[in-house]
């Protein structure tokens, strides 16, 4: 045995010790077929979010076949159906999955508004369903079978405000947010509450609409009030333009935002003005969890671009389901009791569990945009 193979064997042995999920095991569900219904907006207006979700489940299907994702030897498959950002189609798909007799759990839909239409069907049928991106308040309250693995803005922003306030010691703030979207409106509510709690005076509030491209009028007005910090309640397309245009106008205030800003392309799109912007999020591309490093590598190899948070939270849902299946859950009732018994599962988002309201329990990560990526904000 030469030195190379010796170290390879040692590495493998170590991998087997620290990551028992590395190779497919033989669990109680070995050999059985488990069918998971996934509802994602692959096309239509929310296609930007649904496409990375679809990619994540396809990768999970590959990883289960190759044994990288352990489902206890069961034949676990994620069946991704496109809801085309159409509420009626979302409801149809939920109806189909909850009544076809072969589906064990439904993951999705993509948007909170869709969740409020579709999850009541699952709740009435006592059918387990999990949202990975539906972060609006009240989604899990729809029923006792509705779970969520996505940290809501209300769980992320308080830490973001506390950490930035401790470091920057700001006294005044402005908030700019989209007033026609549940997600960005929540950003505003939570930012306002947390900033005021920290004794920060909110000197200006500006709104915009989703798909707006020009924010210079609002930013010029914000600048005239000279806030120390600007909180952005927006999703990626608007947030990148707000940051770039603020940079162009020479605005020197610190900027921060929530999950909507957590995209690997943030710096590439918003440009140098993005440097130093703080982003509170549920997941970090550079997260050192073993499955995350593998996920980021294989996703990038398969799709030619790094995963975003939508992909990561979907892959985490696949890991949760695979864990339950590896522990014997095959039917919808077994899936449900499995979910109820979850303590801690290792995922790409880090170790996570669920609280009494079926919301995810995990820690937010506070990131800072640096040239071509993110660094942890200290």
């Amino acid at each position: 045995m030469n030195r190379f193979t010796a170290s390879a064997v040692a590495l493998l042995a170590m991998a087997a010790l620290v990551a028992p999920a590395g190779a497919a095991s033989k669990g109680p569900a070995a050999g059985k077929a488990v069918h998971v219904g996934v509802i994602a907006d692959v096309t239509g207006g929310a296609g930007v979010y649904g496409t990375p979700q679809k990619n994540a489940y396809e990768l999970a299907n590959d990883d289960i076949k190759s044994g990288k994702l352990d489902a206890g030897g069961a034949n676990l498959t994620f069946d991704v159906q496109d809801a085309a950002t159409d509420g009626a189609q979302v409801v149809n798909l939920m109806q189909k999955f909850t009544t076809d007799g072969s589906t064990a759990i439904v993951i999705g839909p993509t948007l909170s508004g869709e969740a409020f239409k579709a999850f009541p069907l699952a709740a009435r049928a006592n059918f387990p369903a999990m949202g990975t991106s539906t972060t609006a308040e009240g989604v899990t309250a729809i029923g006792p079978t509705i779970y969520r693995d996505a940290l809501a803005e209300s769980q992320v922003i308080p830490t973001t405000v506390a950490r930035t306030h401790a470091k920057w010691k700001y006294k005044t703030a402005a908030i700019i947010y989209g007033d026609d979207n549940a997600f960005t409106k929540t950003d505003y509510d939570v930012f306002k509450r947390e900033l005021e709690k920290a004794g920060v005076q909110v000197v200006d509030t500006e709104t915009f609409h989703i798909k707006d491209t020009d924010f210079q009028a609002a930013l010029t007005r914000i600048d005239s009030k000279k806030p120390d910090v600007i909180a952005i309640g927006g999703l990626f397309p608007e947030a990148t333009k707000i940051i770039a245009q603020a940079g162009k106008l020479g605005i020197k205030a610190h900027m921060m935002g929530g999950n909507g800003l957590n995209s690997p392309e943030m710096y590439a799109v918003a440009g140098p003005a993005a440097q130093g912007v703080v982003v509170g999020a549920a997941w970090a591309l550079a997260g050192k969890y073993p499955s995350n490093e593998r996920f980021v590598k294989s996703y990038t190899a398969k799709y030619g671009k790094a995963p975003d948070q939508f992909a990561a939270q979907s892959y985490a849902a696949a890991e949760i389901v695979a864990y339950l299946v590896a522990h014997g859950a095959v039917t919808k009732d077994e899936m449900l009791s499995g979910l109820r018994g979850v303590r801690v599962i290792q995922t790409v988002l880090g170790p996570l569990g669920f609280d009494a309201n079926r919301d995810v329990k995990s820690s937010p990560v506070i990131l800072e945009i640096v040239k071509n990526g993110f660094a942890y904000f200290h």
């Binding site: 096309t43 210079q216 007005r221």
Partner: protein, 293 residues
């Protein structure tokens, strides 16, 4: 702050005006509303993106994309309007067929480019430092966009006033049958009108893509409605009206936000428009102004 907001409004208005000019030109000549104008706007932005990504210098890519949009306009006329014109289908049927073409263009773009937002690589132009002149700040990209939009509108007005083609276009707009009797080739003149209108719309698309460094499938949505408002405000068919209407829209949008009314921006824009239209139902520059251009 006022000077900066005025500048913000001017930059915004220039692109609205450029888009609306092409929109209203087709209406002035053919009396039809071309609802595929926004789809051509988007297609040209994607064409420019592909050209720049392939290494074509930006000015050449801009020109080629505008020409591509013009050709797409001619094709649009051949497919969606010419057959209906031959059958005297009125003005409502072409409206529907133009929506059909818009949907087809959108579907093709989605198939080719996918759903992701695309960004130009501007070779450092996008990271060039902003220019500060007293109280105002702008970038070279913005200045170039503004000047290009103004230059294109000046060229259009020169073509319409001082060239044989312009005289033919105005003759067809005035009375199609009389123009034909006098020896004007109707179909050629209409094709030229579509080429000019669509290449201006395409130019507006490329400039919008550059201004925000963002090319998306749905970028034509907001400007389609705004462009329609602008040409109605300016007076259907009026080039001057479209230009002035574009700048008014840019200014109202900007100052609504500047005076702290951001949640009311769109309501205010359309409120102002409503009041102006009640006062002047034919728009600022009346109907058929193109004929006297």
């Amino acid at each position: 702050m006022f000077a900066q907001q005025l500048l913000n409004g001017l930059f915004l208005g220039a692109v609205y005006a450029l888009f609306a000019v092409g929109y209203t030109l087709v209406f002035g000549v053919l009396d039809i509303l071309n609802l595929a104008h926004a789809a051509i706007f988007t297609a040209a932005a994607f064409a420019a993106f592909s050209l720049v990504a392939a290494g074509v210098p930006l000015p050449a890519a801009f020109l080629l994309a505008a020409i591509f949009a013009g050709l797409l306009g001619i094709l649009l006329d051949r497919v969606a309007f010419a057959p209906l014109r031959k059958r005297n289908a009125g003005t409502l049927v072409p409206l529907i067929s133009s929506i059909g073409v818009a949907i087809i263009i959108g579907a093709v773009l989605r198939a080719v480019y996918g759903v992701d937002e695309r960004h130009f690589t501007l070779g450092g132009l996008d990271t060039a430092p902003a220019i500060h002149l007293g109280p105002i700040t702008f970038t070279t990209v913005e200045l170039t966009i503004f000047l290009a939009a103004i230059a294109l509108m000046v060229v259009l007005s020169w073509i319409l006033r001082s060239t044989t083609l312009g005289r033919r276009i105005r003759a067809v707009a005035d009375d199609r049958i009389a123009a034909a009797l006098l020896g004007v080739d109707l179909e050629k003149t209409i094709a030229a009108t579509f080429f000019i209108a669509s290449s201006l719309g395409g130019a507006a698309g490329v400039l919008t893509g550059l201004e925000y460094n963002s090319v998306t499938l749905d970028m034509g949505g907001p400007i389609e409605l705004k462009g329609l408002a602008v040409i109605i405000l300016g007076g259907m068919g009026s080039i001057t009206g479209a230009v002035i209407g574009g700048f008014i829209l840019g200014a109202v949008e900007t100052f609504a936000v500047a005076y702290g009314l951001s949640p009311w921006r769109d309501a205010l824009v359309f409120g102002v428009m409503f009041v102006l239209l009640v006062a002047r139902p034919t728009g600022l520059f009346g109907k058929r102004a193109l004929r006297q251009a």
